[in-house]
Amino acid sequence: MLAILWKDLRIEWRTKEMLTSFGMLAVLLVLTLSFAHEAVAGPEHSGRVAGALWVAFVFAGMLGIQRSLLLERENECVSGLLLSPVDPGEIFLAKLLANVAMLALMQLLILPLAVVFMAADVGGHLGTLVLVMGLGNLGFAAIATFFAGVAARTRSREVMLPLLILPLLLPLVILAVKATGAVLDGGGVSDVGPTLTYLVAFDVMYCAAGWLLFEYVVRE
């Protein structure tokens, strides 16, 4: 038994693969949580609810999207898609929309939970809230869909997706938590105007980048 223990520790010491990847993942998780709870939200209740909502959304969404791409890989669907006479950009957009729909269902599920368990006040500006959540969803899905294809084919794929996308998502977390907190505080479209503009810019940029560059990540 000691020999096995020694062997495991020695492999890890030689490669340091687990240590660095899991270490960095832990750092990123701490950062995301401190962004959502400390940096942006502040001490108000609405800010805390917004932070919890988006952290739950990001982490659950990451697992879901990864699953959907692994599924495709298992059945060799990717090669089939690439053989078909479709532009890679269009494949990306189709996958993106599918993921957006899936994530929207998940949001539909967690929002009532926030109302029940955290006494979030969503009544005032439901339309604005839906808009903010939709924009955050689209930006998240654009980055996650794009890199899920990459992560699924690397060696340590379970860790790779969060490692790749969490840093890129941090600005989105700031914007979305800020906007959601303001809406839960009773603000309308006019109160979250600039933040919404940045969210739209984020979405447009990453959707466009994904559409243009998807070809380079899927081509064998």
């Binding site: 693969e17 660095t20 990847s21 960095m24 750092v27 990123l28 950062l31 401190s34 400390e38 940096a39 942006v40 980055i143 794009f146 890199f147 990459v150 084919r153 690397t154 060696r155 340590s156 790779m160 490692l163 790749l164 969490l166 840093p167 890129l168 941090l170 600005p171 700031i174 914007l175 800020k178 933040t195 940045y198 810019a201 984020f202 940029m205 990453y206 980048a209 560059l213 380079y216 990540v217 081509r219 064998e220």
Partner: protein, 230 residues
């Protein structure tokens, strides 16, 4: 290859002398700041590292784009080297900042726009290096890394506007909001520029060495693949 010989022979000397002159300027030429005292001198390293890190990340994006466009491995090797050295300098920024902030602000860390922005950039390029380390060594990983390098840079405008939503306390360096310089004494500005230039030389030299190492490593990998194929 002429340029490479010049780099090999003169860059180490230039960088070494530059650093010595920079140290002389920082500790002997620049006066001690009135309010903050001796700890302010770390600022010359801090700001120079930050500028160098930004140049490095710019280099990563540019060479990544060139690699995707042309497919030449040379660009990919430079991109990887610049990313590694850039993360190193960005780490300097994140280490020297808190050392200064503890006595001046009374806390190591604040969620200030500039600090947050530097931290986000650091995480993006660390994940770039992770992808390099764990992805493997083939063309596919090179393309992914190039795409990630580009994604990281197109995010910078959004990072900048989004972190502005946070309250800021970071001091201005060259231009304050009132339009005056953050460095009143010309000797201080001299020390800053000399240090920044010395750091740039060190950066260039390190990227040069790292690129050469990468080129050799790639060649060895290619030979091994040939051997295995028979």
């Amino acid at each position: 290859m002429r340029l490479q010989n010049v780099c090999d022979r003169w860059l180490p000397w230039a960088a070494g002398c530059g650093m010595i002159i920079a140290l002389y300027c920082i500790f002997l030429v620049a006066p001690t700041e009135r309010d903050q005292g001796i700890v302010q001198r770390i600022f010359y390293f801090h700001v120079s590292s930050a500028w160098t890190a930004f140049i490095a990340f710019g280099t990563v994006a540019f060479t990544s784009g060139c690699y995707l466009w042309s497919g030449k491995e040379r660009y990919d090797q430079v991109a990887q080297s610049a990313a590694e050295v850039g993360v190193l300098f960005c780490s300097f920024v994140l280490i020297t900042g808190p050392i200064w902030a503890k006595p001046i602000w009374g806390t190591y860390w604040q969620w200030d726009p500039r600090l947050t922005q530097t931290l986000i950039l650091w995480t993006i390029y660390v994940s770039y290096l992770m992808l390099r380390a764990f992805g493997g060594r083939d063309d596919l990983v090179r393309r992914w890394a190039a795409v990630l390098g580009i994604f990281g840079v197109i995010g910078i405008p959004i990072i900048i506007v989004s972190v502005r939503l946070l309250p800021g306390i970071h001091p201005a360096v060259l231009m304050t909001k009132e339009g005056t310089s953050g460095l009143p004494d010309p000797r201080m500005r001299l020390a800053l520029y000399v240090t920044a230039f010395a750091f740039l030389l060190v950066f260039t030299w390190m990227v040069h060495l790292r690129t050469r190492l990468q080129r050799v490593a790639d060649r060895i990998a290619m030979m091994q693949a040939d051997l295995r194929a028979g």
